[in-house]
Amino acid sequence: MECQECHQRPATLHFTQVINGEKTEVYVCEVCAKEEGYMSYPEEGFSLHHLLSGLFDSAFESPKGTLGQQKKELQCPKCEMTLSEFRRAGKFGCPACYETFADNLDPIFRRVHSGNTKHYGKIPARAFGDMRVKKQVDAYKEELQRLIKNEAFEEAATVRDKIKELEEETRGEDT
């Protein structure tokens, strides 16, 4: 496929832009992507800074106009980044910003991460150990249901023992 901008080089980058709810597909080469502002960092093809700002704009200009009605602008109590600064930079100032701007983040994450807003995956071992165990137990329970449904009772028994073991471990820590 050739580049939509220069029609000379082959297109090596593909962008999906969502502006005001309308999806546009863009196929360009790296040179044009840089020149036409599809990306701002020459080394990070997918940091999509400009594109992100675009996404942010549409995320904040929601039809409900909730933000427009707010008199006082949201500001992070820890790093003092304001909502408009966050929009402009496309970057968070500190971990607390996630809490401060929580109500405005779902649309952004949904667009950047293919509709996802919630983390599934690794949990810090030391600081969030309990949460890690809880998630593991949940995962085992799901597996247990599946195994029972498939009448794989022998394997189900092993999984059930694992759940018991984990639950006893955490109970032991509580006392």
């Binding site: 297109a11 090596t12 790296e30 080394e43 980044m81 970057k91 500190c94 950047v112 983390h119 030391r126």
Partner: protein, 354 residues
């Protein structure tokens, strides 16, 4: 470990080992973005906080070892000359963004150069780990253990709902970027790769050239990585990437066989011409070097060229980059001087092989 050690060799020690499918996959990499809970992200943090982080990392991890990753060297970016910074970028030990930093930015590198931990890049920590060949699962397991080891002394910025918190919304969640570097000369030659890229993008993966500017991947080296970091577990992300890489390996092998059966003489001509340039050329531009290296490497893979090691592509790709050439010459070189030195280094290296 000293800085000089990392400057001397173009090829990192771990690259000398053979990995699975290394005729096509040169290396696998996993990168984790991590931040300290109590400090602002580097773009907004004050100098004192960044110094604090940097000093903490130096005190806790310099000269420490974890499993196979021995004797971490702590290298402050501000102590590096522009050429030295460039060399570390060319060896993929630091990012171009880190190379531009001053003040409190640094990098922690293991003796075998398999692990590098960037300090105060876009995030407080960028932990990256490499394995030769196609070994994403192993890389993931190892980087998890390394991450737990680091976390033993650091309170990470983590949120139950959003996962690992990062400076940029594109990294939040797992904070993980998994990637493989692939040599795909036959798919590039038959122009199939440009048709495959949009399909790969649809799966939430990104394909881009590793070296060089412009749209053409210089040296037919492509990096495939995940784009999405939120809502999918690390294992699932790696699994998705793996299945696409497996497909690409199959397609590349098929394309190689196809070219061999359809136009063997033309391919041989192309490969031996490149071999000729590398053994006899006197002025070689970086783009030409990359093309010749790719051709010769393909010749080695197809059994046309014998007695030249496969590693030559990885090694000369780095050795012939502008930063490394100038490090070798110990001075700043004009583009023309670089082209002459590049040709002479390639010639010498080829003679060593024969």
């Amino acid at each position: 470990m000293t800085l000089q050690h990392f400057m001397k060799e173009a090829i990192s020690p771990w690259m000398r080992e053979n990995g699975p499918d290394n005729d096509i996959v040169l290396s696998s990499r996993i990168r984790l973005a991590r931040n300290f809970a109590q400090y602002s992200f580097p773009i907004l943090a004050n100098e004192a906080d960044l110094q604090h982080i940097s000093e903490f990392i130096r005190q806790e991890y310099e000269h420490q070892s974890f499993q196979d990753y021995h004797d971490f060297a702590f290298v402050p970016v501000k102590d590096l000359t522009p050429i030295e910074r460039r060399v570390l970028v060319e060896k993929h030990l630091i990012s171009p963004h880190l190379a531009e930093q001053d003040h409190a930015s640094a990098v922690l590198i293991s003796k075998n150069e398999q692990v590098s931990i960037m300090v105060n890049e876009e995030d407080h920590l960028r932990v990256q780990l490499y394995y030769p060949g196609f070994q994403l699962n192993k890389s993931l397991n190892k980087v998890f253990e390394l991450d737990d080891w680091l976390e033993g002394k650091i309170d990470y910025a983590f949120d139950e709902k959003r996962g690992y918190l990062t400076g940029c919304p594109t990294n939040v969640g797992t904070g993980m970027r998994a990637s493989v570097m692939m040599h795909l000369p036959a798919l590039a030659l038959t122009q199939r790769i440009s048709r495959m890229i949009p399909a790969i993008n649809q799966l939430g993966l990104v394909v881009r050239g590793v070296y060089g500017e412009g749209s053409q991947a210089t040296g037919n080296l492509f990096q495939i990585s995940n784009q999405i970091t939120l809502g999918k577990s690390e294992e699932d992300i790696v699994e998705d990437l793996q299945s696409v890489v497996r497909e690409l390996i199959e397609h590349e092998r098929t394309a190689r066989n196809h070219i061999m059966s359809q136009s063997q003489t033309r391919l041989e001509d192309r490969i031996y011409r490149s071999y000729g340039i590398m053994t006899c050329g006197r002025i070689i531009e970086s783009k030409e070097a990359a093309k010749c290296l790719s051709d010769v490497r393909l010749g080695i893979d197809l059994g046309m060229i014998e007695n030249v090691s496969r590693n030559i592509l990885n090694e000369l790709m780095v050795l012939t980059q502008p930063g490394f050439l100038q490090q070798y010459a110990k001075k700043t070189l004009t583009p023309h001087e670089r082209d002459v030195l590049r040709a002479s280094l390639i010639r010498e290296r080829m003679q060593l092989e024969n």
